[in-house]
Symmetry: D2
């Protein structure tokens, strides 16, 4: 089983009528439903006000293989100690992270990137087209080389991220913009996928290709099998092969 935790800010859906119509039970519950037909996904949800730790206790995270994150206007309310906890679980524990839409500005994504993560945007929705530029990538399997989104918020270049490990998708917008909107990264033992669709007033999470991509991303981001690796450290120092003087080995487990 792949243990997935879907985290949502869950604010627009409770306060904005337009959003309620699109995602009446919240984006997290909607995603749980559309991803839930994968038999080996075990999905739970969490949100900003679920409890004092935003539903992300040590125990929850230790039992999460892949964390999906949707946040927008209340990034600053996510507690720093919870962010630190997620960070450690990603880089030392190998938990995957899927950052969706405005999560480019979440504390956890920015902390993992070490970069501004700024982008160009327009506050209204327009026609977009998602183009696959790494068709051999696991996240692109079964996804057409191009598919349209009738309405999505424009997020465009320049996107101030580190050079991605792979750019899987580039999105075209009718208004004249392009966006490296589907990108992968690795940090320590963890895999990260950023994917831009999912504005709260747009039905992108109903789109079969978006759903396919998110499912692929969950599988891709699931922690791997790495012997002798505990958070990037060797369990035992290696005996040096050839030494010039008596070995005074001292593995700091840095």
């Amino acid at each position: 089983m792949i243990r997935v935790t879907i985290w949502n800010e869950y604010w627009h859906e409770q306060t904005n009528d337009e959003v309620k119509k699109v995602y009446p039970e919240g984006i997290h519950e909607h995603l749980k439903k559309v991803l839930g037909d994968e038999e080996d996904f075990e999905i739970t949800t969490a949100w900003l006000e679920k409890d004092e730790e935003h539903g992300l206790s040590e125990e929850v995270l230790n039992n999460t293989d892949v964390l999906m994150w949707w946040g927008h206007m209340r990034h600053h309310e996510v507690k720093d100690e919870v962010v630190e906890r997620i960070m450690n679980r990603v880089i030392f524990g190998g938990m995957g992270l899927i950052a969706m839409h405005s999560a480019h500005y979440s504390k956890i994504f920015k902390k993992l990137m070490g970069a501004p993560c700024s982008l160009h945007w327009r506050a209204y929705n327009e026609k977009a087209r998602v183009w696959t530029v790494a068709p051999l990538h696991p996240i692109a399997q079964g996804v057409p080389l191009e598919f349209p989104l009738e309405s999505e918020e424009m997020y465009g270049e320049y996107f101030s991220i580190p050079k991605p490990d792979d750019i899987v998708f580039i999105t075209w917008y009718k208004g004249g913009n392009v966006f490296r909107g589907g990108c992968t990264f690795t940090r320590g033992a963890g895999k990260i996928f950023y994917f831009h669709p999912g504005h709260e007033t747009c039905p992108s999470f109903y789109n079969e290709n978006i759903i396919k991509i998110l499912k692929n991303a969950v599988r891709w981001a699931t922690p791997g099998i790495i012997p002798d690796f505990e958070g990037g450290h060797f369990k035992e120092p290696l005996e040096p092969e050839v030494t010039d003087r008596p070995p005074i080995l001292d593995d700091m487990k840095k």
Copy 2:
């Protein structure tokens, strides 16, 4: 002129006789001397106890094109607000950063990487060989495809960094280890080079190839010319090309 600030922890050189012999005036002053024959380098130095801001005031940083960093045992004493200031100057102002030796564990390098930055090491010095694996990279210009270091501290894989933009050098150690010890990264408007040689008891900073590499790295890391770019943001929002409804343009200057 390229304005270089060389920062050094400057502790071993004041407290350890073995180190004093190698770098009597401190690693920073030594580096200033060996890099100083480049006529267009304007070099100043700073260190942990220089003043309350470790010699890295807002003014100093705003007048620095490339910051070189050597730190080892007192990373934790570098104040968080100074680290934040350096971070901003790198990612928004385009200041280059050259992280040397144990600086892989400095607060600023870890913050920019978003990764553990852990590695494998042995606490004694051994024969090493530096191999160039990206000979066309600007930092490798004029550097042999291989050169030896008679004595350097072993820093080896697995090095838990993000996938580098370029791996320029890989180092061999007699004891059986390899290390991606010369790597480049970009974060926002800034360029970063990590280079492993420079243990305080080793004369690596006297090595002509090491000096050549550091000079090349300074030139490479010097901020570029990017019109319309202020910390990764466009100065003005772009008028959309084709719109479906009246443009309600709103550039957040995210």
Copy 3:
């Protein structure tokens, strides 16, 4: 089922007594045996003198998902039309290619790389250590972060290949060399893995970690599922979104 064809020059094993002792039935038959316990691998073998097409007819290739290649001294005897056929099957048909040891100099590998593929070497065997530097890569799953090879031919830098998509393994040699010896590439619809161990007088293909890596590589290199993609072409031209004059669409199926 993953249909694997293992191709071997099969010359040393028939002419050199030392080699016969290590691989009495040929490297291809040995690999077939050690990889054959994977239940979903369907393995056949081919060799230079199997028939007039080196055992690589159109039909054989069209029924191959992953081609493994071992060649050394008789690269030049592989017919150009067979090489062209393999090339087309990789870049248009998505067949994976695993190039082993001296296959860095095979016609097919050089043709896919477009680069010299030269390297530094020594004509005797020595202690080596394989270091994993991309532990999250599918090919590294279940492989230790380091494992030794008691005896392998030294292949070292500078290895004149295009920048790999991923460097999965770097090998250390006792004699002072390092080698980016486990690298991935993509070309058209096909995935390529180069892996250096496997000198004909060394028992590397008996090593459990090498076997694990080759099995992983076969799975990784298996063709993916790409809708609308026939050798990199769209099946149908896309209707343009917005046009300035009547569309005179003409998809060249380039």
Copy 4:
């Protein structure tokens, strides 16, 4: 001085009135003029029918630092021995190559890529916008983060090239397409830049930003300084560091 040779098919300009109006002296002569104000560029031109070797004799190539290439309909008429000669000069001699527009399908570009190099296209011109996605790259220096082209032929994804070393520019087209249209590669000692603008009926080579990019690309692609490197080979074999038996060194100069 940087010795630039601009090669042009030079056919459309002689046979098509529409093209003649845009580039009356040929694209090669036009480029020579607009790049020629760089005082350290020494520019010569060559074309398909200049002489029996298309103006690219051994002597011309040996005196070329950067070769710029424009070809479209007569790729197949370029002689294979000339292509082989260019290939060798790039990968062993370090000559830079700038492939413009339809040169994605030139023999030399395909040979260097080892990939289909196919793309999606429409046979008419439309509004385009060039977006910089690697603003720190030398080729992007002084270039705005975005600039429009009023009319350019659509070349779009999926572009079946190897993963580029760097994607510097991504182009948006009004018709709904995106294109990784400004990409860098390295092959042996040579640097390669592909850049998509330059359809024969479009005035792109009059655009100041395009001209700036081409000038930057020429400087970037100029061969570097690599000691001990002759076409990727070490001049002398290295003495092994530690040997298990008497060294029988044999450097094949592969």
